[in-house]
Point group: D2
Chain length 302, copies 4
């Protein structure tokens, strides 16, 4: 069955389940998103694209941006990156300070908030303009020339960002930030406020299904693409990575805006969006849609 | 390059590094194993086998046995199994009691000690003779008709097994064991004391590279094989699953006897043995050998 | 106002509140105690005694016995005792294993279960017959020549004692028990199963109000009496020591049988019994009675 | 032996031990204090005062100020105060975030940093000018009309205060601060930067030995004085309250500037200063001096 038919089948199945999720409500810009939205898009490595539902509508990509930031940091720092952040699943909530205290300020991985702050700090040290750099990367990879930050989201995140401010100051107290917490937080909150659509995100993640190649040139090395995929698998979906690997069987990264991007190396990248979340903070319908996609295509890394 | 040549190349590279690992010393039967041992074996799904070094010598498979126990429990319990054990990486040591206390006696996954004790308890409840059942499964899958438990190892494990006894009693205090702790521990210590060689283990794990098929019949369903592979990837190598996925890129299960088995779904199963461990409790040279195997074959799930 | 009048006033006030507590129900012998029981007794250092209600009825002293065991261990080990157990409040539940894991098998203090197991182990190493020794001490101090263990309680504790068995095995795994866990647990469960009355307990604790003197001779040194009082204040009432010090202002030790003993150094010892517990595991009405006793006598160490 | 002779005896004993402590070095103003300083002063409730060594020299009182802030908050909030902060020892480091996360933003007690930030927030909400109010209280109680903040210390604390900023933001994320973190931190850092001498502090704490009376009028109620003493005993000396109670046997509050104030209710207040700290963050020689003072006077609450 071609991807387009599969997406349509999934769409029909999933729509009735949309009300079961719970939309993130810690900032008004997320709280007011329509919980009935659902979009899904697949890009295959030969360039074909299929999409369904609200796949063209932009949403707040939130933590999905952490993959872009990590990609920048890998380009800039290479393997030295791992001196300041681990690569193990945390076994705790994405915004926990507990493990950070026990492990002396070294975040467990680049995808929990603390780790993403350290990664952002690295990019900031190299480029100064981390916000600009990330937006340019997102534009280049997605082909969306007008992809940009939602300033209201960034402002709301900052206004309610006491937990992240606690993390940033905590990291700084362990000397694991080079820049001031306020500057790191400003970049971080903007990164989370990128608005992109399913089709844009599926296109943007195609380099991870293509051994690091984007539009015929190497964005990162094949090893680095493999590394990022492994990190998404073991750390990309909060404290539900085991469940996601079990059910979906693909490396993926989620955001509290309800988006999830997943990758089948060598074959395709896929993005789904459904704003209602499950207890782990991943899109409830989105996880189910990807599980069905894996079943219907017979594709999984396992 | 055929597998045999690759194994020989790896063998030559790895041998000089063997003294860097540290042999497990908590029981004399492990402490006295020669740290210069090194064996490796690959089985491909078409039946071919390649091996090198001490691949025919039996060693204590220890936690690798947890995959067999889980396979039995999946056959017996199916998805109900997940009511009593989670499927998330723990983010802590394999024998930690901390998370078990915070999470009210539900172990994080079937491969940490607490989880394996619960799985053993399930098998015990169904079969009574859990020791016999596991040995028969190991014999059938490996083709090693005389595969058996090392009674001295089992006795030593029991004699020094206060930490596992603490775990079993703790689980029982949360009502997450149906049988008496002493009975569960007896089965568990025996399972860990299975002696098998690299070639036997590579053969035995081939069903996980073959969608659950063993010798032309379904041992477990294709979904269950996928599930076990995902669990090995996210939980199979102690608190180093992220690093193992990053470097090796294959689902795998390790034991403190120095063995590691890994699987490339659809293609092959591979087993390596080198008794010296790294700080995470995985075979140091074994991890490196698998990393090289992944590089030289160009095979990885990512 | 003399103590007898004060006790009568308190008795009248407290009786209506007795149903608010919740009787311990983890073993039938405790679960079936009448929640309307209330007794209280005071001994002053000049030998006077006052009592009210069910002060002459024996109940299961449970953790109050830990003071007797510590007294024995101090006689036997002196200051060396502190090499194997700390003297800080735990900030966690009395039967937690978490801190024990983080602090490598050294219990925080002698009054949490783990610490009492280590103390019991010391007594066992010195005397062999720890059960006999403790009973004799309780008889001598209380004047109750037939004070003894309730065998049904000891048997029930053992039968449901998986959590304590977990603690004992955990301590053993850190080499902080010299004897086998089963032997330490047997002594420990018996100690908790001592049956004594309020008047017996008030008499028995008089040495702690009398600089270590019992019947004119030194049971322990004045410093040791001071030490035990300080330990009761900082560690004697589970994770509610701050609240108990704030409200009652006396060093005290409680048990889940509903008894609490407190001491005003130089002046008196007092014991109250009311089986209903509060959320911290201390007698709800008993704590309130002691608070009133402190108010009405104007006596507090603060 | 009169207090003056006792202080002189202690002075002679302690001086040789001064180099064993380790001066706090996280800000230069503390790091550069002469480790050979030693002062001690006692005020009895009838107005007599004895002092020795550098008792007239002002030092940074640091966390001793938390007792003044709590006194203000008790005057302003009464028992409502306990809705936002606990009164139990923490069992962890004074600046830990772990327990705060597990206990949902309610600090364990008013003397750990998190608790003191909440208390400061209360004072700020009532008085606006928390800095002024605390300085005035310190002046009134001590009789030191020119007692004031050391601005260099306050600035250094702020400049290095990432850990406290983490705590304040963390509390705010749990909605347990009413004011902005920056404002609370500013007041808090100033409070810690009060400079006072041993004689001034001994005089200032006399109300806690006098049932809340200062200069013949009630500063707080007798119950409140008792409450604060109990809190100092159970929570006043970081994660060494058990050891301090065991050895010294008096309610006390320490600061990383090397000062410790202790109180014998009804009899005296005593302050000691020796900048070198022990591993728990309390003055090493100061603790020893108070232990000797308790021994030589025969005074202890136990």
């Amino acid at each position: 069955m071609p991807y387009q038919s599969i997406l349509e089948k999934i769409h029909a199945e999933i729509v009735p389940t949309l009300p079961q999720g719970r939309v993130a409500d810690y900032i008004p810009q997320l709280a007011h998103v329509d919980p009935h939205k659902f979009g899904m898009a697949v890009c295959d490595t030969s360039g074909g694209i299929a999409c369904v539902g609200d796949a063209a509508e932009r949403f707040s990509i939130q933590s999905i941006s952490k993959v872009f930031t990590l990609t920048l940091a890998m380009q800039l720092e290479g393997e030295r990156l791992w001196q300041r952040v681990g690569r193990e699943p945390s076994g705790t909530s994405f915004n926990s300070l507990v493990q950070l205290e026990y492990e002396q300020g070294i975040p467990r991985n680049p995808f929990i908030n603390a780790g993403a702050l350290v990664i952002t700090d690295m990019v900031l040290s190299h480029l100064g303009e981390a916000k600009l750099a990330l937006r340019e990367l997102a534009r280049k990879l997605s082909g969306g020339v007008d992809v940009c930050y939602n300033p209201a989201v960034a402002a709301s995140e900052a206004g309610r960002g006491y937990r992240n401010a606690a993390l940033a100051n905590f990291l700084k107290s362990f000397d694991n930030l080079r820049n001031e917490p306020a500057d790191v937080l400003d970049a971080y909150f903007h990164h989370c406020a990128l608005s992109m659509s399913c089709t844009e995100l599926a296109r943007a993640f195609l380099y991870l299904a293509s051994h690091g190649q984007h539009a015929g040139t190497a964005l990162i090395t094949p090893s680095q693409a493999k590394y990022i995929n492994s990190l998404m698998l073991t750390c990309g979906t909060y404290d539900a990575v085991g469940d996601f690997a079990y059910r979906v069987g693909l490396p993926g990264k989620s955001g509290v805006g309800g988006g999830i991007v997943a990758v089948m190396p060598g074959l395709f990248s896929v993005c789904v969006w459904a704003p209602g979340l499950n207890a782990s903070g991943n899109s409830l319908a989105g996880t189910r849609a990807l599980e069905r996609f894996s079943e219907l295509t017979g594709q999984s890394i396992f």
